[in-house]
Amino acid sequence: MDRSTRAFRALLCAYPPAFRDRYRDDLLAFFVQDRAHPRYGIGWRRPWRFWAATLRDLVVSAAAERKRHWRPMRSLRLSLDVRDAVRSLLATPGPTTVALMVLTLGIGMSSAIFAVVDNVALRGLPFDQADRLVSVAETMLPSGRPVTVAAPNYVQWTARQHSFEGLGASDFFVTVLEEGGRSERLLAARVTPNLFGLLRVTPALGRLLSPDDVRPGAEAVVLLSDGAWHRRFGADPGVIGRLIRFESGGRRIVGVMRPGFAYPVGSERISASEFWVPRAFTTAELGRSLGRNYSLSVVGRLKPGATIDQAAREMQQTRDVLAAAYPRWFVDRGIAVRPAIDAVVGATVRSWMLMLLGAVTLVLLIACVNVANVLLARATGRARELGIRAALGATRLDLLRGVLVESFILSAAGATLGLGITALGTAALRATLPADLPRLASVAVDGRVVLVAVLAGLVTGVLFGFVPAIRLSRPNLADTLHASGRASTASAPHQRLRAMLVMFEVSLAIVLLVGAGLFVSSFVRLLDRDLGFDPSHIVTISATVEPPVGVKERTPKTYPDFSDLVARVAAIPGVEHVGGIASGLPLSGNTRSNAFTVSWRPEPFDHDDAAFVHEASHGLLMAMRLQLIRGRWIADTDTPGAPGVVVLSQEAVRRYFGDRDPLGQVVQLEDRSRTVVGIVAGTQFRGPEAQPVPEAWVPLPDARQQSVDLVIRTQADVATLVPAVERAVFDTLPGAVIDAPVTLNALFAEFVAARRFNAFLIAVFGVLALTMVSVGIYGVMACVVDQQTREIGVRMALGARPAEVLRMMLGRATLVSGAGLLAGLAGAIALEQFIRGFLYQPRPYDPAVYLAVLSLTVAVSLIAALMPARRAAGVDPLVALRRD
């Protein structure tokens, strides 16, 4: 009989004995014949399919047969078991509490992480047959990064494709809702009328958009989200047909979407759209003569039978045809066809989430080992009791069941309490994770999460319950009973087992701790990164001069002069330095780049080499603490009338001039000749992790911008300063609009939020692991001391000194944790390959991290062992020898 048949025969114990005995041979014969059945397919999947079908049949039929043989007495016995188990657990409150706490934390935290990971990364899109939904995007060349789509491309793709039932597109627009006497600025989504049909969603009320809604002359319409319907219209079912006023005119409500529907799916910010209006394309938008404008996200549903590879090939061909016809539109654009879910959850986010899940699984595993250890320690004390039970005729199965019921009660209690931790943890995770994480807002403890918590409880129950159960259910009657009076002795193999469990625990903890160390140290490096400016003590306030209402296009365009404003703010008490910058704040994500032309090269530097232009006033150098390397900085005398000047960053000098001396050179930037007058150190405008880019600083008055950001360096309290600044703004620029002040430190914090989260969470895991390890080591050593009290007593009676006993005990603890250390090191080195991708400037096998973790673990294990060891050293030989 081969191995799998033997396995199947073992599984037959699931059936009631009568049935099993009668049909065993027949069932086995059936099993052997069925293995050759063609329906299980070919290849590596075959055994999986076969076993899945066999096991399913076994479980279903065994359950049905068992039910037929149900005897009430049996269930009574089980309830007796449960009562016994609860009693016995309560009789040893110490170990029970420790085990329960460890389980609660382990199950609770892993379920909380699962809730986040599942909702963000694992779950499919909430649409019918969502795996047939495909995202079609343009890509930046050469990086291949998917970006949004230009309107003419979308329209021509739609006309040329045959793989999709249709392609739908969406984008955003900012509008002002004028409802109930109030105006409110909000972000709404525009969708092509076919889009929601492709998603196969239906409205709760009214209808979806139709192609008629975008015909010329059609009435303007709008779809409401369920949230908007409740909040703004009190869930009035008669809302269909009502007119709502936007700044652009009235729109008639034609439908209300169902609760939970959000589109586009993504982070909280982009999923927050309350209104959907039909997206129509103007002739100008579809023309290819003007500038290129990319704004659309495109989704399609594959036709039945069409594959995504076919679609990708077709779209690539279409792109190539269009590229030949309109080369200007495709010089730097490719095309990407991928499952829609991948467009929502990028590969980076997914692997990050899986990494978190892996880390928390390690914590859960340590928790299991820990509880197994605690139960083993308890079991030692029960060996005699079980021995007596066996002597009185309890079968091995009876004993096994009793012990297993205990572990299941523990894990069930742990899972129940753990769900409380899950609820708290999920809320905490939702609040601390970076807000741009897709689908974060909808993270909640739902059925799947509860199921996982229950499964985690069951699996841990089996994992930590079986080892002690098997060991205990085989009591050596002669030994245990012979040991008569001796209360709690553990056999040698028993202790070896516990020592091995601790070793295992130590090695898992090392893996986690090294991971935590790597994350934390990489985070510290990130914080230490020289940004090229000093973001601390800087408040920024933006002032915008809106063009007069109704004047959309002014000719000739005039732009406000901000120099008076900057001078006024500089005079405010408490302002150390102030500078104006008109091209977006550092770390805000707003940047502008432009072609840069030098005299010695005919073609301009463009695309990847384009210069990032910042317009700055004289005071900005001091306010941001930029570093002037050579020449001079922008002066107040650099007015629009004066000769054009530019200050370059070192990176710009390197790229544009190489070994030439840039000072005094005349360059072309944004249609103007400028003389290079100075060189500054580069800044990390786009955050600490961005690649250095060439930067060009030009005088603020050259800025053709409606708004300026005031960068104020101050030690004063922001709250007292801001009103004075606001007064200065309103005095110098009547009618200006001010945005809430932001500190550069706050912007910086957003940049590093994801890494801060990782470092913090993994460090918490590491600390937990270390705590559990110390509990484990303490338990083992306490048990060793307890058991060897006699031996120690004899040694001391023969002249051993307490210090020697102490050393001996600590030596043992070191041996146990040392073996775990080695295994853990190997594990950590393997793990580092996986997590390196998540680290900022990883340092391979950073010796500082490894050394710190090793010494920390050794120290903690010694401390944990110290208390029992001291007890051993304090043994009174007389008492010890008299014991038992």
């Binding site: 059936y15 049935f19 014969a29 059936f30 069925d34 066999t54 049949d57 279903v60 065994a62």
Partner: protein, 114 residues
Amino acid sequence: MPSSLSDLTPIAFEVLLSLVDRPQHGYGIKLDVERRTVGEVILGSGTLYQAIHRLEREGLIAETRPQGRPDSRRGRSYRLMPAGRAAVDAHLRRMSRVVDDARARRLLPGSRSS
């Protein structure tokens, strides 16, 4: 014998049908059912022997020992008992009545009025 015909589960009925022509062993019954139902009914070992167990107890089928000892590679063979035959007939009559009725009311997909 089942007290009423509705006691015959679909699986039990299929097992009985497989034994109408000749005795079969367990796996033979499974293959026969699979072929007749075009893969719609796929019996696992447990499900099949559960049904056999019940049919045996109710006296609808019985074990045969064709020419001596049972084949250890294939398991026991079973044959239809007179009571089983009667149960099949009764069940078929009822089904045919249902089908006639459905056809008359044009409920059956693809049925034409004749």
